[in-house]
């Protein structure tokens, strides 16, 4: 049974969510979150993932404080209360 997951949207992408800085989707894994975004917010999804459904190279997806790539990628299972955050990767120099 999918659970309700909160996704935090970066400010620059809220134009694709009707101005909402967070959205709720029904999902058990990060992959299912992305699939839900693809269905419900396709313009937002295209900013996060490319046509091959891979997360874009300079986009980071966090579950709470943990980077998804380091957790095992989009199959990462979610737990009740988890918050998914989407960030542009930024580095200094």
């Amino acid at each position: 049974m999918p659970m309700s997951a909160t996704v935090l949207i970066p400010r620059i992408l809220t134009q694709y969510t009707g101005g909402c800085a967070e959205v709720s989707v029904q999902a058990n894994t990060v992959g299912e979150v992305l699939a839900a975004l693809k269905r419900d917010f396709p313009a937002l999804y295209q900013c996060v993932c490319d046509e091959t459904d891979a997360v874009r190279r300079h986009i980071n997806v966090f579950v709470n404080n943990d980077l998804v790539h380091h957790q095992g990628g989009t199959p990462t299972r979610l737990h009740k209360g988890d918050v998914i955050s989407i960030f542009q990767a930024v580095s200094g120099g």
Partner: protein
Amino acid sequence: MSDKLLVSIGTKKGVFVAESASGRRRFSLRGPFGPGVAVYATMIDTRGTPKVYASSCSPFFGMKLLVSSNLGNKFRETKSAPAFAADDGRAMANIWALETGKGKKELWCGAEPAALFRSGDGGDSWEIVPGISHHAHARQWHPGNGGLCMHTIVRQGDRMHLGISTGGHYLSEDGGTTFDP
């Protein structure tokens, strides 16, 4: 001489639009539009109501196509940008060339990785052009230092010349259905 001169300028910081009266002694500059995002291709479409188009390639969020219907005072995103099909295996990296087509709404777009797209509605929807994008040679092209990009489209009637780095020069004489090197 026309009453007004418009120049659209693609830069790494976005698209700028310069405007001058017919004398061309002074230019005013507007922009950047799509600020902070590189624009590799711009085009002023003078068919019907003039439109300014600009590619807008964000390294974070991917490809958009911007369009202005008021001589570059304001831009909006088109309803969609050219994109590969999910089962194609390629992902859009950039738009390198924009060109007008037949009638008032047909547009052509050269992309990276090298592929050609066509719109029949002024840029709101796009379809890949298989004659070159799925050409027998396509999967054998290799990127040069600047990437594998279709950077040049030159059209005259049913003749269309394409420049691809580093695929070479391809020509269609049937309006973009088939291409030969």
